[in-house]
Every structure is written in C-alpha cells, then in structure tokens.
Symmetry: C2
Subunit: 382 residues, 2 copies
Amino acid sequence: MKKLTILGATGSIGVSSLDVVARHANEFDVQYLSTYQNVALLFEQAQKFRPRAVAIYKEDSVHEYAQRFKEIGVEIVTGFDGVLELSRRDDVDIFVNALVGAVGLQPTLNAIKPGRRIALANKETLVLGGELVMRQARQVGAEVIPIDSEHSALLQCIVGEEAAAVQKIVLTASGGPFRERPETEFGRISVAEALNHPNWTMGPKITIDSATLMNKGLEVIEAFWLFGLAPEEIDVVVHPQSIVHSFVEFRDGSIKAQLGLPDMRVPIQYALSFPKRLAADFPRLDFSQLRDLTFEQPDYEKFRCLKLAFDALAEGGSAPAVLNASNEEAVHLFLKEMIRFDQISQIVEEALTQCPRNGRCDAATLLAADQTTREYVQSTFS
Amino acid sequence: MKKLTILGATGSIGVSSLDVVARHANEFDVQYLSTYQNVALLFEQAQKFRPRAVAIYKEDSVHEYAQRFKEIGVEIVTGFDGVLELSRRDDVDIFVNALVGAVGLQPTLNAIKPGRRIALANKETLVLGGELVMRQARQVGAEVIPIDSEHSALLQCIVGEEAAAVQKIVLTASGGPFRERPETEFGRISVAEALNHPNWTMGPKITIDSATLMNKGLEVIEAFWLFGLAPEEIDVVVHPQSIVHSFVEFRDGSIKAQLGLPDMRVPIQYALSFPKRLAADFPRLDFSQLRDLTFEQPDYEKFRCLKLAFDALAEGGSAPAVLNASNEEAVHLFLKEMIRFDQISQIVEEALTQCPRNGRCDAATLLAADQTTREYVQSTFS
C-alpha cells in the first residue's frame, strides 16, 4: 500500500489522480490533499478518501467547511505555508505535484526525500529548477517520474533500454486550436477560442499554453532535465490527432513510440505504478477504427513561444525562469482580456531581453528571477 | 566476441546479417555459413569473413570452388546432411537461421543448446515446430530471438515490461501489392506483378507470401509461440507505409509501437546485440518528412490465406504444418506458372480439409504431415 500526497487535488490532474486511486484501493492510500480554493470539491474528496490532512491555499475560502472537516477527523492547514508544511511531512511514498505554475517548485524541493517518488505534473518545477531538483533527487535517492503524457510516453519507451542507447527524443504536439489559423489573425483570437483545445480537457493556463505552443516549449525543457539529452537531441513534431504521445530514437536507428487515446489517467496511473502496470478498463484505442495519423513540422515563426523556449534552454541559467514567469503573467493578462493573444509571445520575448538573467541555478536566484520578471511584466503591460 | 553461424548466408537476410557483422567486427565473428547453391557469393563471403566451414546444399554446384575454399583454409560440407552437421557444432554463441521453408526446422532443433541464442528469420521453424522448439529452448536455457521486423518490433516494445502486462499484440501488414486490386482480378495476376513488393526487397517465396498475406498469417502463428498469448489476443492491421512495424497493448490501455524505415538490418542487428543496442548509421526516419501513416482492417475474404492461418492456429496440432507445406508447394507452382495466383489460397484451403492432421507435435509427426501435404499438392495440382 503506497501512501500518497496530491497537491492540486481539485484540478484536472488531481481529480484524475483520485480516479486512479479509487480504482486501486488496495494499492494506494491518500494521506494529504491540497486545493487552491475549491473547498467544496476538496471536502467531497476528503469524505471519500479520508486523508490525514488537507491544505487550503486561499484561507478565506475555508469558512463553514472548517467544522465539517473537523467532524470527519481531517486536519486543515492553510495558505502557501500550509502547502509547504504538508510537502515536508514524512509518512508519504508518492508525492504527486499537480500544482499550476512556478509555485510548484518549493513544495517539490521540500518533498525530495530518500526512497520517495515525486510524480510530477507541475512542469514549472523542472522548467525553473531542473538542475536543482534532479541533482537533489539523485543525491538523496528519490525518483522523479513524469505525469505529462509526452514524458510518460518517453519513459515508457525508454524502460528496459540502456540510457546510452537513446539518441533522440521527439515530442508530439497537437498543434492546438490555431494550427491552421494564419498568423495575421492571431491578434483577433478571443479567450473563448483559445480555451477550446481540440483533443484534451485541461485547466485554463495549460490550455492557453497549448494554443501558443509554449506548453510544448516547457515540455522540451522538462524533457531535457528528465532524460539528460542535449537540447539538439530533443525535437518536436506536430501530430493533430494526439494518438502518438511521443517518440524515442535509439542509436541503431530503431524508434519506439507510446500511443493511446488522450486520457491523462493512463500516464497518471503509470507514474503511480511504475515500473509495473496495473490493469485498468480505461477506454481503448480501437485498432479497427484506426485510420490516419498525420505529422507535420511546427511553424516556429507563427508559434514563436516554442522557439523562445528552445532559446531559453540553450542559454540556461535563469533564462527558463524568466521565460516561464513572463509567460505565466502574460497568459494571466490574456485570460483577463488585458492583452491580445499575439502579445503573449511578444511579452515573453521582451522579458527575455529586458530581465536580468545569470547562470546560477540555486533556488534563491531562480525565485528572484521569477519575481523580477513578474514585476516587469505587470508594471509594463497591466 | 560472439561466434556466429548463419544458415542461408547468400539470401536476403543472410547478406544483411553479414553487413551487420562487418559493421561490428569487434563484436561478432563468423564461424559457419551455408548456401543453397550460390557458391560464388558464398566464396566471396568466406574470403571476407573467414569462417571455419561452409555448407553447400546442392553438391553439384561446388565444382571448381572446392580448390579455392581449400586454398583459404575453409572446410566444405555438402548436402542437407552438411547443413545439419554444421547446425550441431558447439563453438557458436548465436545461430542465425535464415533458411527458407520447413527445411529450417531440423537445423533449429539441432542448434538449441544451453546458453545459445537462436536468431530466427526462418519463420517455418515456429509455424511447424513452435511448441517443440519453445519447449526445448526453455528446457535447456536457450534464447529464441526473432529477426522478422514485426516480431523484433514486438520484442522491442515488450523489453523492460512484465510478461503479464501484455494484453494484446497487433502485427502490421503492408497489404502487399494487391491491397487495392479487386478480388475478381486475382486470377489474372502475373508472377512478375506478385514479385513486385511495394516496400521490402526480399526473396521470391516471402514476396509471394506477402502478396497473398499468408506471410502475415505465418507471422501470427510465429507470434503466438514467441510471446505466449492466446490467438484472440493477436490481431493484424494493414499499414501500407511499413513504417510502424507492430504494436503492443498493455493492460493499462497504453500502447507501444516500434517503427523506422523498412531496413532488415535493424531487426537483424537487434537480434544479435539484444538486449543492448549497437550504434549504427543505417538511414534514419526523417521526422521532418513524416506525413501520413494510414491504417485499415485486412480484408479476410479477399486475402483468404490470412484467415486460413488463424484457423490453423486455432486448430493447433499439425494443422499449421499442413497450412505451411501446402502453401510452400502452391507458391512453388505459382512461381513456375503452373497455377494461377488465386489458386494458392484454394490449394491451402483444400489441403487443410483433405490432408490428415492430428494433435501431436513431435518432430516426426510434424515432418510427416509436411511430407504428406506436399505429396498431396504435387499429385493433385502439378
């Protein structure tokens, strides 16, 4: 029986993670959950899974639930301090980080302990802190297992192979809702259009990132840290059907791919059960209905964010932190309809020129770069 | 340094195997080679790779080469007895069986020895003798590693996974040159048309089998023995581009595929280097050129041989031996223009009704079924 923490339990990945846990009640036991502010759903989850404690980020949303959690014997901690406190607790085998944004880094660092598995859906943890996190995990003997469908695909293709046999990885990208939209119309894209992803149902931040292809850029940086390849050994191919989740090419020219219907429960369950696979009746790809799988090169001019991510990875140091922070702020402004869709990449590009960067990768430097960049974007574009 | 025997050294697989060996002169050392009758090529190979001995099946083709082999210090053995004798020799780590047809079974049985690897391109070995060969290999601790691109793909997808996690395998088939030809025109297909495979350059027997889809049927039976699944857990999907070489579905719904350009050197090298991968500069799949991968269901009415193979597998015992022998004879008659293309499946179907079959799987029973079936086809259709 593996004991679990799930940070971000009420988001899309959190809910799917609890679906997986519910299917394997003999394998997994929930110890800790957190939410940003969806206390009603968190309470339902607590009733069902009976964690020892929950963290509620927005303290003012606790209200009448305080008493109800107490009645079912579930401790409440609040604020970001509460999240950090839960992430330090010891009685946990698998720490699922499904937080959104750079806020996920510190909890991950807290949670790295000998023998523990970090199941990572929070890609900013590695985008900002890849060097730090991977080094710390190696030092204490913790595992970092990805939950992203692409990185799970890569892990599944690499399992059983020698690390040195991997020559190249190719991340697939759906291309998002604007793959065929001319760049000249990018200024007129509405929030509603950008939130309408063709294949995946996800939270708003990652859905906008999928529309700009910044999501793929962040995944390239994540893959760099997870799989230890050079930036030029990581490539992206657009695959609108989202059936092939990624490719690995080996040094003998052989290629493996992992595929399946778009269903985050598959990579989540794999991250929990790895290296084993548990039986599950998730909907299957019907081979008798399989027709066309199409592929094309990404348009790096039109989807400038993807290019900027490769550039930030090549520069290294705090550049990915600047990339990520400026993107988070720009997406936030776009969701509030304060900037146009095409300004997202412009803001990121400007931040990468204007914001101070350096080559150090300690947590303080990275979080300072994150903070400075956010302030720059807010003061310049709000 | 692994010591190799290659039976069928002058055929398509044999030549590619020696290409792989030449690329890794520090890894592999050729001990024994055999040919059916291409003594000129065998002599060239012997000059280059300096085996201890060679077997020449057709004794009357030795002629003037006897002296030349002697001059380079290479022993000659002749006839099928010579092939059998080489297959029993001890100083070999990897035994590559690239013979064509049922004649490959006995050499494989001879070669199964503790710690030895059987690298199998001769699919009839398993079609006829799957139960016998796999049992004997398990008993003495020999490995059976497939060289077929499809079975190599399956092995590559399964490596690192628990056997129990495999739920289904799906073999891809190019569909051959007559995928879009109406069945009503099958009677008018010429030998030259049938020998013109769209994706792979192979010997005449397997090329005709690819045109009838019997090749895929034989591979289904081979997969059954190699991977220990139930017949209903093995499926076939037509994939005209021959880029995806096969799929494995796991019990969590995840699917893996192995893919690459059609190049037999990749699965051959994998069979020799397994579980490692050796670096090789075989032409790469260019992801920037990757466009459409298409899939469709096989037409079991039009390609009756594929259906008959599934039936023979379900019946078991000596039925696959009858299927294989009648097909070998029918293909032989077609290549000699003594029957029409559409008669190949008719002959196999008739043989499966007319020829005695039973449930025993010892070598004598299987070879008797093989012999009886050949005589039946020859006497009825020649």
